[in-house]
């Protein structure tokens, strides 16, 4: 049967499109003007798809609980964690992090956890929003 896809295409014309229109329905012609409008409240950003629980997003670090054992540095596959010897605390560089959460599993006092933040793009590798300490 030659036109087996035709019924499916016909049905699709009346259904809601599957794409989730994040952040806007069509690409804005000027990104800076779009962002200004969002700041003023003139346009709204469509929300992204909900993340499930257990999603591995940006890492969160509880400074008080950390004991400085350096086990997380030993297991990190990309070398994203640095030790600060004077304070005995760590510094995590998100530009190198692979979001594997192996450091969470190995920490003996559970001071590391993963949040569900994933909108982390930035222009500078070492900016404040990409270093967790």
């Amino acid at each position: 049967m030659r036109l087996s896809m035709l019924p499916q295409v016909f049905v699709q014309m009346f259904k809601k499109p599957f794409t989730n229109k994040f952040p806007a329905k069509y690409t804005p012609s000027s990104t800076t003007r779009f962002l200004e409008n969002v700041q003023n409240g003139k346009t709204k950003i469509n929300p992204p798809v909900e993340t499930p629980p257990g999603f591995r997003g940006k890492i969160q670090y509880d400074r008080e609980k950390c004991i400085g054992c350096q086990l997380c540095i030993k297991v990190c596959p990309s070398g994203a964690i640095e030790f600060k010897p004077e304070e005995k605390k760590i510094k995590i560089f998100l530009a190198r992090c692979t979001f594997c959460s192996q450091c969470n599993d190995v920490c003996p006092v559970n001071c590391l956890s993963m949040s569900n933040e994933f909108l982390l793009a930035d222009t500078d590798k070492y900016s404040k929003s990409l270093i967790v300490e």
Partner: protein
């Protein structure tokens, strides 16, 4: 004075970055008109030195390095490595962990075959099927994200077990996704196997005989479509496959005969999707209770592996074929030797008998039918003589679509 008319052949390089193949491979074809006389394949364009990088790291770091060898087989490489280490060290994996590993592996197989189905349809020129199959694949990826935390780099392997459990309150969501796949499977089967467009483009095209498949040691659906019964899950078994009830998938299960062409490969992959859905349901019913990892304290595991002296191999059936890892420990932090062999390595040489005698416009669909994954492999090349001109990706793709239109009228 009589002039001898000599027949010469043209050289056609279809170079690394832009073939109609989605993967960097270099082909050198010797063509006469539209027919291909000879072909040579070249690898090496994505060589990243991963094995050398692995020898500077400890085994737990290598698990995440192995995951990034390939995006589609991102579950099979760390699992094979974990199997090799467990066999070298004599670590026993708990039974519940073995069943959990099977479920994740079969889910990855469903997603990979759906992606392949979309790519194959795109190479023929049937873009609406591409979007339909990739829309169905989204359900599989959503389920993966729910079970492991990420859509592609799952990070669920650990030496001695798995990192996350599947508790009873997760079962309804899994069953809902499996029901969705089962409901839409008949739609896919009707489009791929009954549609005249697919049949006329793929039957008797890119034939690989059984003798060639055995001699060149091909693996995976490429060789099963030629009638060879080769599947690591059934031949030797690993994880919990020894307890489950399934059989080899060859084209004569559906049609009764074996040709070894592109159409047979489509049949094998669609039947494997059905088999995977069935296997996941069997596992959910039979799963025993117990631990999910044999050594939960990671510093202790690292200490055991540091004192180890031994070697081991781990073999697994990835969506594309047999993956084998070899690892050797000599009592240091990092392994002394690590060798990875991805399935496309063995499926490169069968391209030569498949493409000889075919047409240029068939190159995209034949190469895509073996499901190459060049991030796992490399290149090959051969060159011959005088006249050479280049055909880039858009040109090849356009030629493939034009052939479909020509055959339809």
């Amino acid at each position: 004075m009589k002039q001898q008319i000599t027949k010469t052949t043209y050289q056609l390089p279809i170079g690394p970055i832009h073939p109609a193949l989605k993967e960097p491979v270099m082909f050198e074809f010797e063509i006469e008109g539209e027919r291909i006389i000879d072909v040579n394949v070249a690898l090496g364009h994505v060589h990243r030195g991963i094995e050398w990088a692995g020898m500077q790291r400890n085994p737990i770091q290598i698990l995440y390095l192995a995951e990034r060898i390939c995006g589609i087989c991102s579950y099979c490489h760390p699992m094979s490595f974990a199997l090799a280490v467990e066999r070298a060290a004599g670590i026993e994996v708990p039974e519940r962990a073995q069943y959990l590993r099977v479920i994740q592996g079969e889910l990855e197989r469903i997603c990979s075959h759906m992606l392949w189905a979309g790519v194959a349809a795109h190479e023929i020129g049937f873009d609406s099927v591409l979007f339909l199959t990739w829309q169905m694949r989204e359900k599989g990826l959503d389920l993966t994200e729910y079970l492991t935390g990420n859509r592609v780099t799952k990070g669920i392997t650990m030496i001695g077990g798995v990192r996350r459990d599947i508790t009873n309150d997760m079962h309804p969501k899994i069953k809902e996704a499996l029901q969705y796949f089962k409901d839409n499977f008949e739609k896919l089967r009707h489009i791929f196997l009954d549609d005249k467009t697919f049949k006329m483009r793929s039957q008797n095209c890119g034939v690989l005989t059984k003798e060639d498949a055995l001699k060149l040691c091909a693996v995976g659906p490429t060789t099963r479509a030629s009638g060879v019964k080769k599947d690591v899950r059934l031949d030797q078994g690993y994880f919990a496959y020894g307890d489950l009830d399934f059989d080899y998938v060859t084209p004569d299960v559906l049609t009764g005969e074996v040709h070894g062409d592109v159409y047979d490969r489509i049949i094998v992959r669609l039947l494997e999707v059905k088999q995977s859905i069935d296997l996941i349901e069997q596992c959910l019913n039979l799963m025993p209770s117990g631990e999910i990892i044999s050594e939960p304290k990671i510093p202790k595991l690292l200490a055991i592996l540091k004192k180890l002296n031994g070697e081991g191999i781990g073999r697994m059936e990835a969506p594309r074929g047999e993956v084998i890892h070899y690892v050797k420990f000599t009592g240091q932090d990092s392994p002394y030797s690590w060798k990875v062999r991805a399935p496309t390595y063995s499926n490169v040489l069968p391209w030569i008998p498949m493409l000889k005698g075919g047409q240029i416009a068939d190159i995209p669909i034949v190469a895509a039918s073996t499901d190459p994954c060049m991030s796992c492999t490399n290149r090959v090349a051969v060159v011959h003589n005088d006249k050479r001109y280049e055909l880039d990706k858009e040109e090849l793709h356009r030629m493939s679509i034009e052939k479909t239109r020509r055959l339809m009228t």
